[in-house]
């Protein structure tokens, strides 16, 4: 049996082995190697495994906590009970292989190449908020290629050498982003210190429902303990994250896309129903790129588009329409928006008098 002393978290090579990590890994190892389910007694009486103390109840609790810990790492150990088993029989346990392990023999080499290229394309811009999970997926995909080809595929030299790669590396090392992705993955609430746009700092606990990238900036959307409402938080304004807390479930109908905000969403004014027009030749894909899929769009009688969306800031809505004026975007309603749009043009023209 190896030395069992607590190890500091900085992890030095010659430090004594971490007994908790060793026990968890050994549990995974014996279940992975086992050819039959293992009984509770076989586990909790095994001193080599890190159990077998005089206090059986304590070992049972430790085994339950270890199963939970392994589940957090994606390894699910499930109770196995034959359909005709008597109630008094003690439990047996085995890895839930379908739930734990990736499906072998399903994907093709071309699928994985396409996936790696797709992730590279998605992350090709400035340091990307989705880099932490997507880099992990990319690594899994390359390991899948290794399984198919027998060796690790050579890395794209441009990816290794480019400034983008180093930017992504910095993004990966962002502890706040990593903690938020972990909380989201484990579906555990996360306490955070948040500084809003006005510089005010507050403490709140958030159940993260979704995460989105708006350009190069990342945002989390979640149930906020401070307001008991679903709110959006800019990741780079989160000053500190705390210890993960309670478990939660993301509502089945939650969709992060309506939270992709447009400039006119951010005002303090009352929401106003607005309509913009766009020329008939714009495709649905162009419309989706412009609107982030927000609001509703329809064809008018002459074939041109009408986009209906709620706005909170008429000045920002008028500026948004003007930024896309060359695409034929025009405000249609309400009259106050059209007046604001005209007034904005007048001011721009007057500045050149």
């Amino acid at each position: 049996m190896t030395e069992r002393r607590r190890q500091p978290d900085d992890g030095t090579a010659d430090a004594p082995l971490d007994e908790t990590a060793q026990r968890l890994l050994n549990l995974l190892f014996i279940f992975n190697a086992a050819e039959r389910p293992l009984t509770t007694d076989e586990i909790v009486s095994d001193a080599d495994l890190g159990y077998g103390s005089p206090n059986r109840a304590s070992d049972l609790r430790k085994f339950r906590r270890d199963r939970e810990k392994l589940a957090e790492r994606g390894v699910f150990i499930a109770e196995v009970r034959a359909t005709d088993a008597a109630e008094t029989e003690q439990s047996s346990w085995a890895i839930d292989r379908a739930r734990t392990f990736a499906g072998g023999g399903i994907v093709r080499e071309g699928d994985v190449h396409l996936l790696v290229k797709a992730i590279d394309a998605y992350l090709a811009g400035p340091a990307h908020p989705l880099a932490p999970p997507l880099n992990a997926v990319r690594i899994r995909a390359r390991e899948e290629l290794a399984r198919l080809a027998g060796e690790l595929p050579p890395e794209d030299p441009q990816r290794v050498a480019s400034p983008t790669a180093s930017q992504q590396n910095r993004a990966r090392q962002n502890g706040t982003a990593d903690a938020l992705w972990t909380a989201f993955s484990l579906r555990r609430t996360v306490p955070l210190t948040y500084r809003n746009a006005r510089g005010a700092s507050s403490q709140r606990t958030v159940a993260v429902y979704g995460i989105f990238a708006h350009g190069a900036t990342g945002y989390v959307v979640g149930l906020d303990s401070a307001t008991q409402a679903v709110r959006t938080f800019r990741i780079d304004r989160i000053e500190r994250v705390g210890v993960l807390g309670d478990s939660y479930e993301v509502p089945a109908d939650f969709d992060v896309r309506p939270y992709l905000f447009l400039p006119f969403d951010l005002g303090e004014g009352e929401p106003v129903a607005a309509t913009f027009s766009l020329p008939a030749e714009r495709t649905r894909a162009e419309l989706a790129a412009l609107t982030y899929g927000r609001g509703t769009s329809e064809r008018a009688g002459d074939g041109s588009w009408r986009w209906h969306i709620t706005v909170r800031d008429l000045n920002a809505a008028a500026a948004f329409a003007l930024e896309h004026a060359r695409d034929g975007m025009r405000p249609v309603a309400p009259a106050a928006l059209v007046d604001t749009w005209r007034d904005t043009i007048s001011k721009a023209v007057s500045a050149h008098a």
């Binding site: 992890g11 090579a13 971490d18 908790t20 890994l25 050994n26 190892f29 014996i30 992975n32 190697a33 939970e68 957090e72 790492r73 390894v75 839930d96 990736a102 499906g103 994907v107 996936l115 797709a118 394309a121 811009g125 999970p133 997507l134 997926v137 390991e143 399984r147 060796e151 690790l152 890395e155 441009q158 983008t164 972990t182 989201f184 993955s185 159940a207 995460i211 989105f212 990238a213 149930l223 210890v243 309670d246 478990s247 939660y248 479930e249 939650f254 969709d255 992060v256 896309r257 992709l260 030749e281 989706a288 790129a289 500026a319 003007l322 004026a325 060359r326 043009i345 001011k347 050149h352």
Partner: protein, 317 residues
Amino acid sequence: MPRPRPSRRKSILTGSDRRVERAIRLLELLSSVEGTIVTADEARTYLEATDAEIDEAIALIATLADRESGARAVIFRDHDDIVLAGEGSELMPLRLSLGEGAALACVMGELHLPNDVRDRLSRALLPDGWRPDATPLVAGTVSFGAWYPALQQAIAERARIRIAYRAHGDTEARERLVDPLALEVTADAAYLRARDVLKRGERRYRLERIAAVTNLGAHTAAAAPSDSAAHAAVAESLRATAPLVELALAPGAAVPTWDGIEEMSPAPDGAGETRLKVRVAAEPWLFDHVLAAGGALRIVAPAATVDAFLTYAATLT
């Protein structure tokens, strides 16, 4: 709105969690390659770990044994290689976490990967119980249009393609014969960088404006330059073809972050304005930004650009 469901105990990510994670990842990596051997450099890269952390993972794995079956993990360093041996020590790849799965679903959807590919990747990798019709929990604002797979294939094959593309100001898409070079993504948009065969020049095409792609199959000699070379080429092209426009920015106004800004300095008259010198490839783009600024941004020179702006503004109202 459902509220968080309290659990009986708290959970934190500890040093042990990270050690277990690294050891599992190392076992997965070693199990993925023939001969279960990787270089230490590969391990460091794949695990994003230091040498000490890799050694720590090796030390942990080396203790794994099952008395009943006799299975035990044998792992050691052989010079710069890491070797895994021993019966029962190989580990099949684990499924993705919920966060990784949501991010993967986002990429597959936003880049319009073919349905059969999405189905296979989903069945193989996504967490158990993931519903294919689940609403997105992860999203981005950059549009990749509907033709990413076809464009990626053409780039990989160095195939010439015909695209239907609608530029700003065009009322309908026009066909272009291009040799695709690479895909580029900025904070706002995704582009195809390609050589226009008839115009004999490099161009960028916004992906959502591409209405159709036809792979002509003919292999081209065009090869994508490196990112830095491409940026240098774009900058050089801008200098050669795009006129320099001087702008005045009102005090307190948000400073633009456009690529083509060459100079920025306080206005000489001391009025608190900021002067910008910008290379402008397309005047309507500049005019829209000046209009949207509502007087906070003013074109100073050349005079012909000011006149063109006033004419453009008059067409809107």
